[in-house]
């Protein structure tokens, strides 16, 4: 950057005799934009790299250990992984986690898309207020947003007491809370605000004249949507899918609060391994298997994203 160059080339420095390699190094540094960029980036990158790589490396290492009381036997063994794949309950929980998360992702994207579409194409004044309004809840307390569904769906909750108050039912409906559906509803509500942003951004980027061109060439509103708007907003949809699917697979607060025994997900089991079960190596192995499978699914999606983007740009 030019200001750094001017800064370095102050007269005092120019007059001072310098050894050849030093001045060459200096010139190389100031001539290399990338090097200056890396210098500026290094604190952030190092902090992030260290605080992610070191823990993950340790976690991988620990997954080959064995828990003995409060200590670890550090002799490498595969039995933690063996257990993950041989115990049917683990597989069952994993499949359930993936299913719950997939349903929630699907529901979130489906309900967010029309909202993002409305704001992108039909809001002309005070657009900013709409964008903030629809994303705002995402930034506020996750715990409270989940807890509120316990209040709504609970045995004596809003829905049951409301329905009884109106005389529609005699005794509380028990099927509302503590099941996978409650988990899906709660997660959908918690993540809907997050799905909107990438979809909105991809819709907003679509040039209006492309839509006019489609109309001009004979497409009615529906045909235009299917042939132009939807394909062009696909990257946003795929990004939203990944952004919601990956974190929700690992959610354990929601199942703990509203899931009940049938809504328990794999993450609850991982948490238990670091808590009451007190088997950290076992928990590490579970966490790694979950990450691996989710990562695999996410990679497929990222490949899809690349594919879609390449087709669009």
């Amino acid at each position: 950057m030019s200001e750094s160059v001017t800064g370095a080339a102050s007269p005092a420095e120019q007059n001072r005799p310098e050894t050849g390699w030093r001045s060459r190094l200096r010139a190389f540094y100031h001539g290399s934009e990338a090097l200056q960029g890396y210098t500026l980036l290094s604190p952030t990158l190092l902090v992030m790299l260290f605080s992610m790589c070191a823990p993950f490396a340790l976690m991988v290492l620990m997954s080959f250990w064995t828990q003995i009381g409060y200590e670890f036997d550090t002799a490498a063994t595969l039995k933690n992984y063996d257990k993950v794949f041989s115990e049917p309950v683990y597989t069952k929980l994993l499949v359930r986690s993936l299913l719950i998360s997939a349903s929630c992702t699907f529901a979130t994207v489906i309900i967010s898309y029309p909202m993002a579409y409305y704001v992108a194409f039909h809001v002309h004044r005070r657009k900013m207020i709409w964008i903030i309004l629809m994303t705002l809840p995402f930034w506020t307390s996750y715990l409270l947003r989940i807890f509120t569904w316990k209040v709504i769906l609970g045995f004596n909750g809003v829905i049951n007491s409301g329905l009884i108050g109106m005389g529609l039912i005699d005794k509380p409906l028990e099927f509302l809370l503590y099941n996978p559906t409650a988990v899906v509803i709660t997660l959908t509500h918690a993540w809907a605000a997050f799905a909107i942003l990438p979809i909105y951004v991809s819709l907003e980027k679509i040039d209006r004249s492309l839509l006019e061109a489609a109309t001009d060439l004979g497409d009615g509103p529906m045909a235009r949507f299917l042939r132009v708007t939807l394909p062009l907003s696909l990257p946003g949809v795929i990004a939203a899918t990944v952004l919601i699917f990956v974190p929700t697979v690992g959610d354990y607060v929601t199942p703990a609060l509203v899931g009940g025994p049938d809504g328990v997900m794999l993450a609850n089991l991982i948490q238990a391994h670091f808590g009451i079960i007190n088997n950290w190596p076992g928990g590490s192995a579970l966490a790694i298997v979950m990450m691996g499978i989710v990562g695999l699914i996410a990679m497929t999606y990222i490949w899809l994203t690349r594919f879609a983007v390449r087709n669009i740009e």
Partner: protein, 271 residues
């Protein structure tokens, strides 16, 4: 309205949908403040008597006030440090052509898509193996990790929003890199910096999962609340507390988002 063009003409069903969507987003959350004024231990309709006593109780609730202070301290440190890291990172990736920029951004943004529980247990293992006692410091470390991506995203929007030639003009007029940063760059990105501070503070203040794994004996506010959820008779207190947290969060986030998105012609993403 006949003023808007064919493509942008109003669509009533979609408008109705948008209103319903916002209702779905907000109405459930509003039950917490509603029942916090209910003069009964049980959350149930109809609400017979209204009261402010749960709010009065809060003022005398020593453990809760201690947890609140803990959260504020963690939030303040985490938001300042994350924003600092965010400024460096955002300036580097928006102002320099760096080879491998995309993977670097992906690494920094990774905590956004890593499930909280994975981050939590991985950090827990590291801290445990390093022999460090769990405390508010370890919680702060975890919070910085989740805040930096948001700080970066917020600040990148701001850095991209202003012309590099402004900085070049400053250099041309004789200021060195340091003074250019103070006299041109920082004032221009200041709204972004403020927005990032506010956003990171809220994220840390409301964060539960990492605090759950990395917290020691001093609880943060969400941890304290989690503990209270086990006792049904404490529920009204939790509701009052939750109502306050929601209200404050809403205002702080609204303000921070307003700072980022003020220019109505360039609706850019912060996330």
């Amino acid at each position: 309205m006949k003023n808007v063009s064919y493509i942008d003409r109003p669509n009533r069903p979609l408008f109705v949908y948008a209103v319903l969507f916002l209702a779905f987003l907000y109405v459930p959350v509003l039950f917490l403040p509603l029942f916090s004024f209910n003069d009964s231990q049980y959350i149930a309709f109809p609400i017979e008597n209204w009261t402010l006593r749960w709010y009065r109780d809060m003022a005398n609730n020593e453990p809760m006030l201690a947890a609140l202070m803990n959260s504020i301290r963690v939030g303040a440190v985490a938001s300042i440090l994350s924003t600092f890291l965010g400024i460096f990172g955002a300036k580097a990736v928006t102002r320099y052509r760096i080879p491998g920029q995309e993977p670097i951004i992906a690494v920094i943004m990774a905590p956004l898509v890593i499930p909280g529980i994975i981050l939590g247990v991985a950090l827990l293992i590291l801290i445990n193996r390093a022999g460090i006692t769990l405390s508010l410091y370890t919680v702060t470390l975890g919070h910085i990790l989740v805040c930096v991506p948001f700080a970066m995203a917020t600040l990148m929007t701001r850095f991209e929003g202003f012309d590099k030639s402004m900085e070049e003009a400053s250099a041309d007029l004789g200021e060195n890199a340091w003074w250019t940063f103070w006299r041109v760059t920082l004032p221009m990105v200041f709204p972004g910096v403020l927005a990032s501070l506010l956003l990171c503070f809220t994220i840390s203040f409301d964060e539960f999962i990492l605090a759950f794994f990395l917290g020691g004996t001093d609880p943060t506010l969400p941890l304290y609340m989690w503990g209270q959820l086990r006792f049904p008779q404490r529920l009204p207190n939790v509701l009052a507390m939750g109502a306050c947290i929601l209200l404050i969060s809403f205002f702080v986030v609204f303000f921070s988002q307003w700072l980022v998105r003020r220019d109505p012609d360039s609706p850019k993403s912060a996330g």
